[in-house]
Symmetry: C2
DNA sequence: ATATCACTTAAAGTAGACTTTAAGGCAATA
DNA sequence: TATTGCCTTAAAGTCTACTTTAAGTGATAT
Protein backbone atom coordinates (compact mmCIF):
# COMPACT_ATOMS: atom_id res chain seq x y z
CA UNK A 1 0.00 0.00 0.00
CA UNK A 2 3.03 2.29 -0.07
CA UNK A 3 3.24 3.27 -3.72
CA UNK A 4 0.95 5.90 -5.03
CA UNK A 5 2.90 7.29 -7.92
CA UNK A 6 0.87 8.55 -10.84
CA UNK A 7 1.92 8.64 -14.46
CA UNK A 8 0.76 10.38 -17.61
CA UNK A 9 0.49 8.33 -20.77
CA UNK A 10 3.78 9.84 -21.94
CA UNK A 11 5.51 8.83 -18.73
CA UNK A 12 4.30 5.28 -19.11
CA UNK A 13 5.57 5.28 -22.66
CA UNK A 14 8.98 6.42 -21.48
CA UNK A 15 9.09 3.91 -18.64
CA UNK A 16 7.82 0.90 -20.55
CA UNK A 17 8.50 1.55 -24.22
CA UNK A 18 4.85 0.84 -24.96
CA UNK A 19 3.45 3.54 -27.24
CA UNK A 20 0.48 5.71 -26.25
CA UNK A 21 -1.75 4.23 -28.92
CA UNK A 22 -0.86 0.73 -27.80
CA UNK A 23 -1.76 1.68 -24.23
CA UNK A 24 -5.15 2.92 -25.42
CA UNK A 25 -5.52 -0.21 -27.50
CA UNK A 26 -4.76 -2.48 -24.54
CA UNK A 27 -7.28 -0.57 -22.48
CA UNK A 28 -9.87 -0.97 -25.20
CA UNK A 29 -9.16 -4.72 -25.30
CA UNK A 30 -9.58 -4.90 -21.55
CA UNK A 31 -6.12 -6.13 -20.65
CA UNK A 32 -5.22 -2.81 -19.04
CA UNK A 33 -8.08 -1.91 -16.72
CA UNK A 34 -9.32 0.83 -14.41
CA UNK A 35 -7.36 3.66 -15.91
CA UNK A 36 -8.61 6.81 -14.15
CA UNK A 37 -8.78 10.28 -15.70
CA UNK A 38 -7.80 13.74 -14.46
CA UNK A 39 -10.03 16.80 -14.73
CA UNK A 40 -9.03 17.24 -18.39
CA UNK A 41 -9.97 13.67 -19.20
CA UNK A 42 -6.34 12.65 -19.54
CA UNK A 43 -5.41 9.14 -18.48
CA UNK A 44 -3.68 8.60 -15.14
CA UNK A 45 -1.68 5.42 -14.69
CA UNK A 46 -0.47 3.90 -11.42
CA UNK A 47 2.28 1.48 -10.42
CA UNK A 48 -0.24 -1.32 -10.73
CA UNK A 49 -0.53 -0.45 -14.40
CA UNK A 50 3.23 -0.58 -14.79
CA UNK A 51 3.22 -4.00 -13.11
CA UNK A 52 0.47 -5.16 -15.42
CA UNK A 53 2.41 -3.95 -18.44
CA UNK A 54 5.40 -5.95 -17.22
CA UNK A 55 3.19 -9.01 -16.98
CA UNK A 56 1.78 -8.44 -20.44
CA UNK A 57 5.27 -8.22 -21.87
CA UNK A 58 6.19 -11.54 -20.22
CA UNK A 59 3.15 -13.25 -21.65
CA UNK A 60 3.93 -11.79 -25.04
CA UNK A 61 7.46 -13.14 -24.73
CA UNK A 62 5.78 -16.49 -24.20
CA UNK A 63 3.88 -16.02 -27.47
CA UNK A 64 0.55 -15.73 -25.71
CA UNK A 65 -2.09 -13.94 -27.79
CA UNK A 66 -3.70 -10.83 -26.33
CA UNK A 67 -7.03 -12.64 -26.12
CA UNK A 68 -5.53 -15.21 -23.75
CA UNK A 69 -3.74 -12.53 -21.77
CA UNK A 70 -7.08 -10.84 -21.32
CA UNK A 71 -8.66 -14.09 -20.20
CA UNK A 72 -5.84 -14.64 -17.74
CA UNK A 73 -6.35 -11.30 -16.04
CA UNK A 74 -10.09 -11.77 -16.01
CA UNK A 75 -9.65 -15.04 -14.13
CA UNK A 76 -6.98 -13.56 -11.88
CA UNK A 77 -9.31 -10.83 -10.71
CA UNK A 78 -11.73 -13.49 -9.46
CA UNK A 79 -9.55 -16.41 -8.49
CA UNK A 80 -12.08 -18.02 -6.14
CA UNK A 81 -14.44 -18.60 -9.02
CA UNK A 82 -11.84 -19.22 -11.73
CA UNK A 83 -9.04 -21.15 -10.09
CA UNK A 84 -9.60 -24.15 -12.37
CA UNK A 85 -9.87 -21.95 -15.43
CA UNK A 86 -6.64 -20.15 -14.71
CA UNK A 87 -4.75 -23.37 -14.00
CA UNK A 88 -6.03 -24.84 -17.24
CA UNK A 89 -5.16 -21.74 -19.21
CA UNK A 90 -1.62 -21.49 -17.87
CA UNK A 91 -0.97 -25.22 -18.19
CA UNK A 92 -2.22 -25.22 -21.76
CA UNK A 93 -0.13 -22.21 -22.70
CA UNK A 94 2.91 -23.73 -21.01
CA UNK A 95 2.50 -26.85 -23.10
CA UNK A 96 2.18 -24.91 -26.32
CA UNK A 97 5.19 -22.85 -25.38
CA UNK A 98 7.19 -26.00 -24.68
CA UNK A 99 6.43 -27.33 -28.13
CA UNK A 100 7.33 -24.05 -29.73
CA UNK A 101 10.61 -23.93 -27.82
CA UNK A 102 11.45 -27.49 -28.84
CA UNK A 103 10.92 -26.72 -32.50
CA UNK A 104 12.92 -23.54 -32.21
CA UNK A 105 15.82 -25.27 -30.48
CA UNK A 106 15.89 -27.89 -33.23
CA UNK A 107 15.86 -25.22 -35.90
CA UNK A 108 18.54 -23.25 -34.07
CA UNK A 109 20.85 -26.26 -34.18
CA UNK A 110 20.06 -26.73 -37.82
CA UNK A 111 20.92 -23.13 -38.57
CA UNK A 112 24.15 -23.29 -36.61
CA UNK A 113 25.09 -26.29 -38.72
CA UNK A 114 24.22 -24.28 -41.83
CA UNK A 115 26.51 -21.45 -40.80
CA UNK A 116 29.38 -23.94 -40.43
CA UNK A 117 28.52 -25.51 -43.75
CA UNK A 118 28.38 -22.21 -45.61
CA UNK A 119 31.58 -21.07 -43.93
CA UNK A 120 33.25 -24.20 -45.25
CA UNK A 121 31.92 -23.39 -48.70
CA UNK A 122 33.26 -19.87 -48.40
CA UNK A 123 36.73 -21.26 -47.67
CA UNK A 124 36.41 -23.68 -50.55
CA UNK A 125 35.54 -20.80 -52.84
CA UNK A 126 38.49 -18.77 -51.58
CA UNK A 127 40.90 -21.71 -51.94
CA UNK A 128 39.41 -22.89 -55.17
CA UNK A 129 39.04 -26.29 -53.54
CA UNK A 130 36.16 -28.76 -53.79
CA UNK A 131 33.00 -27.88 -51.93
CA UNK A 132 31.98 -29.84 -48.85
CA UNK A 133 28.75 -31.79 -48.82
CA UNK A 134 25.91 -30.94 -46.48
CA UNK A 135 25.95 -34.52 -45.19
CA UNK A 136 29.10 -33.78 -43.24
CA UNK A 137 27.41 -30.88 -41.48
CA UNK A 138 23.77 -31.83 -41.10
CA UNK A 139 23.24 -32.97 -37.53
CA UNK B 1 19.12 -37.98 -59.83
CA UNK B 2 16.98 -41.02 -59.13
CA UNK B 3 13.70 -39.45 -58.02
CA UNK B 4 11.38 -38.20 -60.65
CA UNK B 5 8.04 -38.47 -58.93
CA UNK B 6 5.45 -35.92 -59.91
CA UNK B 7 2.66 -34.59 -57.74
CA UNK B 8 -0.56 -32.69 -58.30
CA UNK B 9 -1.34 -29.79 -56.02
CA UNK B 10 -3.73 -32.04 -54.14
CA UNK B 11 -1.07 -34.67 -53.61
CA UNK B 12 1.31 -32.08 -52.23
CA UNK B 13 -1.42 -30.91 -49.90
CA UNK B 14 -1.94 -34.46 -48.66
CA UNK B 15 1.77 -35.11 -48.26
CA UNK B 16 2.69 -31.82 -46.60
CA UNK B 17 -0.46 -30.44 -45.03
CA UNK B 18 0.11 -27.18 -46.88
CA UNK B 19 -3.13 -26.04 -48.53
CA UNK B 20 -3.42 -25.49 -52.27
CA UNK B 21 -3.91 -21.76 -51.89
CA UNK B 22 -0.88 -21.52 -49.66
CA UNK B 23 1.15 -23.38 -52.29
CA UNK B 24 0.04 -20.88 -54.92
CA UNK B 25 0.78 -18.06 -52.51
CA UNK B 26 4.31 -19.35 -51.84
CA UNK B 27 4.88 -19.61 -55.57
CA UNK B 28 3.66 -16.07 -56.05
CA UNK B 29 6.05 -14.90 -53.31
CA UNK B 30 8.88 -16.72 -55.02
CA UNK B 31 9.78 -19.09 -52.22
CA UNK B 32 8.48 -22.08 -54.20
CA UNK B 33 9.99 -21.83 -57.66
CA UNK B 34 9.94 -23.47 -61.08
CA UNK B 35 6.59 -25.18 -60.76
CA UNK B 36 5.86 -26.68 -64.16
CA UNK B 37 2.43 -27.14 -65.71
CA UNK B 38 0.76 -30.02 -67.52
CA UNK B 39 -1.15 -29.64 -70.79
CA UNK B 40 -4.20 -28.38 -68.85
CA UNK B 41 -2.16 -25.71 -67.10
CA UNK B 42 -2.32 -27.62 -63.83
CA UNK B 43 0.70 -27.38 -61.55
CA UNK B 44 3.14 -30.28 -61.37
CA UNK B 45 5.33 -30.57 -58.31
CA UNK B 46 8.47 -32.66 -57.88
CA UNK B 47 10.39 -34.13 -54.96
CA UNK B 48 12.50 -30.98 -54.95
CA UNK B 49 9.36 -29.02 -54.17
CA UNK B 50 8.55 -31.36 -51.31
CA UNK B 51 12.09 -30.86 -49.99
CA UNK B 52 11.71 -27.13 -50.30
CA UNK B 53 8.43 -27.25 -48.44
CA UNK B 54 10.17 -29.16 -45.65
CA UNK B 55 12.81 -26.46 -45.51
CA UNK B 56 10.21 -23.72 -45.43
CA UNK B 57 8.48 -25.42 -42.53
CA UNK B 58 11.77 -25.58 -40.61
CA UNK B 59 12.44 -21.91 -41.17
CA UNK B 60 8.91 -21.10 -40.09
CA UNK B 61 9.49 -23.15 -36.96
CA UNK B 62 12.44 -20.87 -36.39
CA UNK B 63 10.12 -17.86 -36.67
CA UNK B 64 11.70 -16.70 -39.89
CA UNK B 65 9.43 -14.43 -41.94
CA UNK B 66 8.59 -15.48 -45.49
CA UNK B 67 10.54 -12.51 -46.84
CA UNK B 68 13.73 -13.84 -45.25
CA UNK B 69 12.99 -17.37 -46.37
CA UNK B 70 12.69 -16.03 -49.88
CA UNK B 71 15.99 -14.20 -49.54
CA UNK B 72 17.63 -17.36 -48.24
CA UNK B 73 16.62 -19.42 -51.25
CA UNK B 74 17.59 -16.64 -53.61
CA UNK B 75 21.10 -16.64 -52.14
CA UNK B 76 21.22 -20.42 -52.06
CA UNK B 77 20.56 -20.66 -55.77
CA UNK B 78 23.65 -18.55 -56.42
CA UNK B 79 26.00 -19.40 -53.58
CA UNK B 80 29.16 -18.32 -55.37
CA UNK B 81 27.92 -14.76 -55.52
CA UNK B 82 26.03 -14.72 -52.23
CA UNK B 83 28.04 -16.79 -49.81
CA UNK B 84 28.61 -13.78 -47.52
CA UNK B 85 24.96 -12.77 -47.75
CA UNK B 86 23.70 -16.19 -46.83
CA UNK B 87 26.10 -16.55 -43.90
CA UNK B 88 25.05 -13.14 -42.63
CA UNK B 89 21.37 -13.93 -43.04
CA UNK B 90 21.56 -17.27 -41.25
CA UNK B 91 23.81 -15.93 -38.47
CA UNK B 92 21.50 -13.00 -37.90
CA UNK B 93 18.42 -15.21 -37.81
CA UNK B 94 20.15 -17.63 -35.47
CA UNK B 95 20.92 -14.80 -33.08
CA UNK B 96 17.36 -13.53 -33.14
CA UNK B 97 16.12 -17.04 -32.60
CA UNK B 98 18.44 -17.50 -29.65
CA UNK B 99 17.06 -14.39 -28.01
CA UNK B 100 13.52 -15.48 -28.63
CA UNK B 101 14.22 -18.91 -27.18
CA UNK B 102 15.84 -17.37 -24.09
CA UNK B 103 12.82 -15.20 -23.43
CA UNK B 104 10.49 -18.11 -24.00
CA UNK B 105 12.41 -20.38 -21.64
CA UNK B 106 12.28 -17.70 -18.97
CA UNK B 107 8.56 -17.26 -19.45
CA UNK B 108 8.05 -21.02 -19.44
CA UNK B 109 9.68 -21.26 -16.02
CA UNK B 110 7.56 -18.39 -14.83
CA UNK B 111 4.40 -20.08 -16.01
CA UNK B 112 5.37 -23.39 -14.44
CA UNK B 113 5.80 -21.53 -11.16
CA UNK B 114 2.39 -19.97 -11.67
CA UNK B 115 0.77 -23.36 -12.13
CA UNK B 116 2.27 -24.49 -8.81
CA UNK B 117 1.17 -21.29 -7.15
CA UNK B 118 -2.40 -21.51 -8.40
CA UNK B 119 -2.54 -25.20 -7.50
CA UNK B 120 -1.59 -24.24 -3.95
CA UNK B 121 -4.34 -21.64 -3.97
CA UNK B 122 -6.77 -24.27 -5.20
CA UNK B 123 -5.88 -26.47 -2.23
CA UNK B 124 -6.18 -23.53 0.13
CA UNK B 125 -9.64 -22.82 -1.23
CA UNK B 126 -10.64 -26.46 -0.84
CA UNK B 127 -9.27 -26.66 2.71
CA UNK B 128 -10.47 -23.24 3.67
CA UNK B 129 -6.91 -22.49 4.70
CA UNK B 130 -4.88 -19.29 4.21
CA UNK B 131 -3.66 -18.58 0.71
CA UNK B 132 0.00 -18.85 -0.12
CA UNK B 133 1.93 -15.81 -1.30
CA UNK B 134 3.47 -15.56 -4.73
CA UNK B 135 6.85 -14.83 -3.14
CA UNK B 136 7.16 -18.47 -2.15
CA UNK B 137 6.70 -19.57 -5.73
CA UNK B 138 8.22 -16.87 -7.89
CA UNK B 139 11.60 -18.13 -9.05
C1' DA C 1 -25.55 -34.55 -72.05
C1' DT C 2 -24.95 -32.99 -67.75
C1' DA C 3 -23.15 -32.99 -63.39
C1' DT C 4 -19.12 -33.27 -60.67
C1' DC C 5 -14.37 -32.72 -59.63
C1' DA C 6 -10.00 -30.71 -59.70
C1' DC C 7 -7.83 -27.19 -61.30
C1' DT C 8 -7.04 -22.11 -62.86
C1' DT C 9 -6.74 -16.73 -61.94
C1' DA C 10 -7.45 -12.31 -59.75
C1' DA C 11 -9.21 -10.02 -56.18
C1' DA C 12 -11.21 -9.46 -51.87
C1' DG C 13 -11.51 -10.84 -47.10
C1' DT C 14 -9.58 -12.27 -42.42
C1' DA C 15 -7.05 -12.18 -37.97
C1' DG C 16 -3.84 -10.27 -34.84
C1' DA C 17 -1.51 -6.45 -33.18
C1' DC C 18 -0.89 -2.42 -33.77
C1' DT C 19 -0.15 2.51 -36.11
C1' DT C 20 -1.74 6.48 -38.37
C1' DT C 21 -4.90 10.00 -39.39
C1' DA C 22 -8.36 13.47 -38.68
C1' DA C 23 -10.52 16.55 -35.86
C1' DG C 24 -10.66 18.69 -31.81
C1' DG C 25 -9.88 20.25 -26.39
C1' DC C 26 -7.04 22.35 -22.81
C1' DA C 27 -3.05 24.72 -20.85
C1' DA C 28 1.35 26.96 -20.77
C1' DT C 29 4.50 30.00 -23.16
C1' DA C 30 6.08 34.01 -26.24
C1' DT D 1 -3.56 36.40 -28.48
C1' DA D 2 -1.42 32.88 -31.10
C1' DT D 3 1.46 29.06 -31.23
C1' DT D 4 3.07 24.83 -29.29
C1' DG D 5 2.56 20.60 -27.00
C1' DC D 6 0.12 16.92 -24.99
C1' DC D 7 -3.99 14.94 -24.63
C1' DT D 8 -8.69 13.03 -26.48
C1' DT D 9 -11.78 9.93 -29.74
C1' DA D 10 -13.19 7.25 -33.68
C1' DA D 11 -12.05 5.41 -37.72
C1' DA D 12 -9.11 4.01 -41.17
C1' DG D 13 -4.75 2.05 -42.54
C1' DT D 14 -0.66 -1.36 -42.26
C1' DC D 15 1.74 -5.70 -42.19
C1' DT D 16 2.05 -10.75 -42.30
C1' DA D 17 0.41 -14.87 -43.72
C1' DC D 18 -2.96 -16.71 -45.35
C1' DT D 19 -8.04 -17.96 -46.77
C1' DT D 20 -12.10 -17.25 -49.30
C1' DT D 21 -14.72 -15.98 -53.19
C1' DA D 22 -16.02 -15.46 -57.95
C1' DA D 23 -15.73 -16.80 -62.41
C1' DG D 24 -14.12 -19.91 -65.55
C1' DT D 25 -11.59 -24.28 -68.02
C1' DG D 26 -11.10 -29.10 -68.90
C1' DA D 27 -11.52 -34.11 -67.86
C1' DT D 28 -14.19 -37.64 -65.88
C1' DA D 29 -18.58 -40.14 -64.22
C1' DT D 30 -23.53 -41.25 -64.86
Amino acid sequence: MSEKNLYTIKNVTKLTGVTASTLRYYEELGILEDVERDKNDNRIYTDEHLDRLGGIRCFKDGAMPLSKIREFYRYESDLENHIDDIIELVEEQTEELTETINKMVAQKKHMEAKVKFYSAIKKAIENNSPWPSWDEYSD
